[in-house]
């Protein structure tokens, strides 16, 4: 991993890193990935990935519910923590000129 990788993943993560911050985080990430490299020595051929502990116990059947309206109108409560709003809508910077 190099500084370009750090800036690339920072961009994908929608995080900003200036040069000094990228230089500080690089050795930390390198140290973490040298720990992660220990996994490569394990022979996992023929094994299925285990995405979820429940899958180890049984098939995770997606529970389904009746297609009914169960929620009432919570618009005001749901909007109360919005950083910016207008006319009951979330306000964001102009996207299309």
């Amino acid at each position: 991993m190099n500084l370009d990788d750090v800036q690339r993943i920072a961009h994908l993560s929608r995080l900003e890193l200036n040069q000094a911050e990228a230089e500080a985080v690089l050795p930390q990430l390198q140290a973490i990935f040298s720990l992660v490299e220990e996994m490569q020595a394990v022979d996992t051929s023929g094994l299925e990935p285990l995405a979820h502990p429940i899958l180890f116990l049984r098939d995770l059947a997606q529970p389904l519910r009746a297609d009914q309206v169960t929620e009432s109108d919570h618009r005001a409560e749901n909007m109360q923590s919005a950083p910016a709003q207008q006319d009951g809508y979330f306000l964001v910077p102009k996207v299309i000129e």
């Binding site: 991993m1 990788d5 750090v6 993943i9 920072a10 994908l12 993560s13 929608r14 995080l15 900003e16 890193l17 985080v25 930390q28 990430l29 140290a31 973490i32 720990l35 992660v36 490299e37 220990e38 996994m39 490569q40 394990v42 996992t44 094994l47 299925e48 990935p49 285990l50 995405a51 979820h52 502990p53 429940i54 180890f56 116990l57 995770l60 997606q62 529970p63 519910r65 919570h74 409560e77 749901n78 109360q80 923590s81 919005a82 950083p83 910016a84 979330f90 964001v92 910077p93 996207v95």
Partner: protein, 505 residues
């Protein structure tokens, strides 16, 4: 009456006998919270909201509608969203967030309402400090400052549920909720001399629990005794149609075996654990374990043996690998979960930006702390095209081996015993410069989250500096009641869990 030394099992009796009211109990703990601010255990307290709930609890009691825990105060880790109190996950990005709804855990424990008629009737004392988004092992990653350990204020309280642990240990709450993604209930419980249990994945609803790593996150109680934890867990767990991974068959009484012998007919009064096979994984007692912790846990094993248990050696060969596996999978899930924080619908929005993309980027960069940013970067990297197979899928395959290793071990034993952490609570700042050094401290707790198994922590001694040591009991799926039984029997034979920090009057 020193209510902060009283287990909730006894508090419930005093409330039922009308020896004390919920309002009196609540005021008692609110006063202690006010006097104990220096521990930094709470992030939000609202006396009038708590007293309002206490008043409702007293009405339930006087009208004969009380349940077992009605009127008992409880502190909630700030990862559970609550109406009325702020819900921040100890992050700047949620610093002012007010949730429009209660987490299922909060509702299950709270005052019964029209939406939630089966609430236990407990009183919320406030929201406890934690590592930001539950990412950390020392509570030093909180955006609102570290929690101090009530046993020694120069030491960490553990993490990520450090505020809940310190609140109970300092007598600022009789019991608290926590969450455990890689040890975040068990390790702070051990560091603060408490009992805590992480149940089987799926026992407790994750609805309204601010997500870190969804396939690992699980909530549980942190209290003074195994009996108290059994009481709270029974009220916390439920099947929840709002959580697709919630188990259908929860809702049991986790305290039903507490005072029973392990095997009826095979045990005597002084050998209540006759027939129990305790597995000691040799990898848990290998290099890296401090001498003090090894000594205390080995003595605990002897105590269990004296109570009738049989000790057997077992092996969990991939113990060391649980660290890289966890630190690939948890950040991968975190990077996805935390993508929702974009400054649009809720949370922090940067004050200056060029356009929408810049607003996302600046809001997230300003809102997240260093460790959260680091884990998002790791998670994004391991999910990238070209690295996905080598890191993410390889980690998931080893996760299957780790889960299978536990099943092999459980052929030879009923519960597994080991340390919770390699050492006692470290000094504030001691490990915060080097993330890898901090990750290595999680070695004994990560594998149970990867496998989804229940595991608990109970006090088993002190080191030379009077800092608490915890032992870990791991059980097979759905064996919480049995783990609590073993811990309860151990607590009947020992008094480690009753010790109080000298600074906590």
């Amino acid at each position: 009456m020193s209510w902060h030394n009283t287990p909730i099992a006894l508090m419930a009796k005093a409330l039922a006998a009308k020896q004390v009211s919920s309002t009196e109990l609540t005021q008692y703990f609110l006063d202690r919270i006010e006097a104990g601010k220096h521990w930094n255990a709470y992030l939000d307290v609202s006396a009038h909201l708590s007293l309002e709930q206490a008043n409702k609890a007293d009405q339930l009691i006087s009208s004969g509608k009380a349940r077992k825990l009605t009127g008992i105060p409880v502190a909630h880790k700030d990862v559970f969203v609550t109406r009325g109190w702020k819900s921040t996950a100890a992050s700047k990005i949620l610093a002012e967030y007010q949730s429009p709804f209660d987490a299922t855990v909060v509702a299950n424990l709270g005052i019964p309402s029209k939406e939630n008629p089966s609430g236990a009737g407990m009183v919320c004392l406030g929201k406890t400090n934690m590592d930001e988004f539950a990412m950390g092992s020392s509570n030093e990653n909180s955006a609102f400052g570290p929690v101090l350990n009530p046993w020694n204020a120069a030491h960490v309280a553990g993490g990520s549920s450090g505020g809940s642990a310190a609140a109970v240990a300092a007598g600022l709450a009789p019991i608290a909720t926590g969450t455990d993604t890689g040890g975040s209930i068990r390790q702070p419980a051990a560091f603060c001399g408490l009992t805590g249990i992480k149940p089987t994945y799926g026992r407790v609803s994750r609805h309204g629990m601010i997500a870190y790593a969804s396939s690992l996150d699980q909530a549980g109680p942190m209290g003074k005794t195994a009996e108290d934890c059994a009481l709270l867990l029974s009220a916390m767990s439920s099947h929840d149609p709002r959580d697709s991974t919630s188990l259908a068959d929860s809702g049991e009484d986790y305290g039903r075996y507490l005072n029973q012998a392990w095997q009826e007919g095979n045990s005597t009064a002084n050998k209540p654990l006759a027939g129990l096979r305790v597995g000691l994984p040799k990898e848990f007692f290998a290099e890296g374990l401090s001498a003090d912790v090894a000594k205390s846990v080995n003595e605990a094993a002897k105590t269990l043996e004296n109570l009738g248990a049989k000790l057997v050696e077992v092996t969990l060969p991939k113990t060391k690998l649980s660290i890289p596996v966890y630190y690939v999978l948890a950040p991968a899930e975190a990077s996805s979960n935390l993508s929702r924080f974009d400054g649009v619908r809720y949370g922090h929005r940067a004050s200056e930006y060029k356009d929408l993309g810049d607003m996302y980027q600046k809001s997230r960069t300003e809102g997240f702390g260093a460790e959260v940013r680091r884990r998002i970067l790791i998670g994004t990297y391991v999910l990238c095209h070209g690295y996905y197979d080598a890191y993410y899928l390889q980690a998931q395959k080893i996760r299957r081996i780790i889960a299978a290793d536990f099943q092999a071990a459980f052929k030879d034993c009923d519960v597994i015993l080991g340390p919770v952490a390699p050492d006692v609570a470290w000094r504030l700042g001691e490990k915060s410069k080097d993330p890898v050094q901090m990750y290595l401290e999680d070695i004994y707790t990560l594998s149970t989250n990867l496998a989804g198994l229940p595991a608990m922590s109970t006090p088993c001694g002190f080191n030379g500096n009077n800092l608490p040591i915890g032992m870990q009991l791991i059980g097979n799926y759905f064996s919480e009641a049995r783990l609590l039984q073993v811990a309860h029997q151990y607590q009947q034979a020992t008094d480690w869990h009753l010790r109080q920090a000298s600074e906590v009057a």
